[in-house]
């Protein structure tokens, strides 16, 4: 049975879809007729340049290292921040300041931060690592404070009534109760960061994207393709690995908790 509220929501949703559709000049026919352009690219690719494989792999390695460092640095900073940002652990001022900082960090996509860091530290992977770090801080902190705030309020209160200090509460209650989530969040972020670091090269912040964007610029699709394939395979491998790790270690812990 549909009531008034649901009708209203559905009505608004349909209006929003139609309005956005018209406003953005969506033309499906253009897409269908344009597909042939893509075919031209594929026709130009006659042989894949395997000679570039070594460079592709080396630059992929650099990309993975950037993502790795960014994930580690970011989450190390994110953990204390997430405690400051949890309503059930801190005072209003610290919590509001941290949330504001997070809002600023999360407003811009990592590629924009990469441009800013290229201006600050110059071209190269360091700028990329900084921007990935910042992205990770924003992302992990949010996920972490949400899982900290989800810890049973009763447990925290009851244990506090023993009179232990806040630092001890964090060490013996907060960290253990949110750690299973942290592991899975780290994996997810690393996975995401590898994909994002792959395009950091577009703005000169290091990694494999640098090659891809340059070859495409000069219409050397054959060369670009090998790099894109390496990215594709890497992302698939990381995806499969993280699914396996999640299944084997994390799901088990969370399931057995219930």
């Amino acid at each position: 049975m549909l009531n008034y509220k649901i009708n209203l929501i559905i009505g608004l949703l349909i209006t929003a879809i139609i309005y956005s559709y018209l406003n953005l000049n969506i033309e499906p026919l253009k897409f269908i007729s344009g597909i042939s352009n893509l075919l031209i690219i594929f026709q130009e690719i006659k042989n894949i340049e395997y000679s570039l494989l070594l460079i592709a792999l080396t630059s992929m390695m650099e990309t993975i290292q950037m993502a790795f460092l960014g994930t580690i640095f970011g989450s190390v900073i994110a953990f204390p921040l997430s405690i400051f940002a949890s309503r059930n652990l801190t005072n209003k001022y610290l919590y509001l300041t941290t949330r504001c900082f997070l809002a600023v960090v999360r407003t811009f996509p990592s590629i924009l931060w990469a441009i800013l860091f290229v201006i600050v530290v110059g071209l190269g992977p360091f700028a990329g690592v900084l921007s990935i770090t910042l992205y990770t801080i924003g992302f992990i902190t949010k996920l972490q404070y949400e899982s900290i705030e989800a810890i049973d309020f009763e447990i925290i209160n009851n244990i506090r009534s023993i009179g232990i200090s806040k630092l001890q509460l964090i060490r013996y209650v907060i960290i253990p109760e949110s750690a299973p989530h942290l592991l899975s969040q780290l994996l997810y972020t690393f996975d995401y960061n590898v994909r994002h670091t792959s395009i950091m090269g577009l703005v000169g912040a290091g990694g494999i994207g640098f090659y891809i964007i340059n070859y495409i610029k000069f219409f050397e699709y054959e060369k670009a393709l090998i790099f894109m394939l390496v990215v594709l395979v890497t992302v698939i491998i990381i995806d499969l690995l993280s699914v396996k790790i999640r299944d084997n270690y994390i799901i088990k812990i969370i399931k057995s908790k219930k």
Binding site: I159, S161, I162, G163, L167, Y172, P180
Partner: protein, 257 residues
């Protein structure tokens, strides 16, 4: 003068306490309790009668809307320095047990000792050997020595209760508050746990306030029993002076409740 002397004898002195969670309905309606030191005081009553609420007022998790309460002469207030000191020695076993599921039995029990351990050192899990011994002794007392390194989420319901007891014992309590610690347990296990508590109570000369659902259990172990109904104390009996004769009479009365 005389009334002062009797007051000094009290572990808990609760006077006309009212409590409301929402400022509209009162869950406790004018409760007055005088609990003497070193006795086992048991509260029984139907579900929702306000038993857990009463216990939370005693350890300062809740503040009465009206009325006064003193625990060992101190107003329960988690901001108050004096009460903070006392809290360390109030063993509270909540109805939900309040255990940390993802850490070991030993670590859960050690939480009870943390107030005696340096903050920074305990953050890095540097714990003095004495406290490890204390924790292990408490674990042995509740019969869980072969589960010391097990994560709490892997334990059975009864075992979890024992962990909560061990954590309370490691606090070196002078007051033990236990909320339905043996509910949902089989008869034999219930008796085991209750015997253990009474034994330690005598050994440490501590005061205990317990909540039970089972009247028979209360009659078996308590020095004094009060019955709560809709936030009011409708009956208080005890094996104490004049009331001892009254006790037998009420036994039958209670059994019908």
């Amino acid at each position: 003068m005389l009334s002062n002397l009797t007051k000094n004898n009290l572990a808990i002195d609760m006077n006309n306490v009212w409590l409301s969670y929402d400022n509209i309905n009162y869950v406790l309606n004018g409760i007055t309790l005088s609990i003497k030191k070193s006795i086992n005081y048991t509260i029984i009553g139907h579900s929702g009668s306000g038993k857990s609420t009463l216990l939370k007022i005693i350890n300062g998790l809740l503040t009465p809307s009206k009325g006064t309460i003193k625990v060992f002469g101190i107003i329960p207030d988690h901001q108050n320095r004096k009460f903070k000191n006392l809290m360390k020695n109030i063993g509270y076993i909540p109805q939900s047990l309040g255990l940390v599921k993802n850490i070991t039995v030993l670590d859960n029990v050690l939480i009870g000792a943390l107030t005696r351990i340096n903050k920074i050192k305990s953050f890095f899990k540097i714990v003095p050997d004495v406290e490890i011994d204390n924790a292990q002794n408490a674990i042995k007392m509740v019969g869980l020595e072969d589960k010391t390194e097990k994560k709490v989420f892997t334990l059975s319901g009864g075992e979890k209760r024992r962990v909560a007891i061990a954590r309370a014992l490691v606090q070196k309590p002078i007051l033990l508050l236990a909320d339905e610690i043996v509910s949902e347990l089989d008869h034999v296990t219930s008796k085991e746990i209750m015997n253990l508590i009474i034994e330690t109570q005598h050994k440490l000369n501590l005061t205990s306030v317990m909540i039970h659902h089972d009247i028979k259990l209360a009659l078996d172990y308590a020095d004094m029993i009060s019955v709560l109904q809709k936030g009011q104390k409708i009956l208080e009996i005890g094996v104490d002076g004049n009331t001892i004769t009254e006790f037998d009479v009420t036994k039958n009365q209670l059994a019908k409740l």
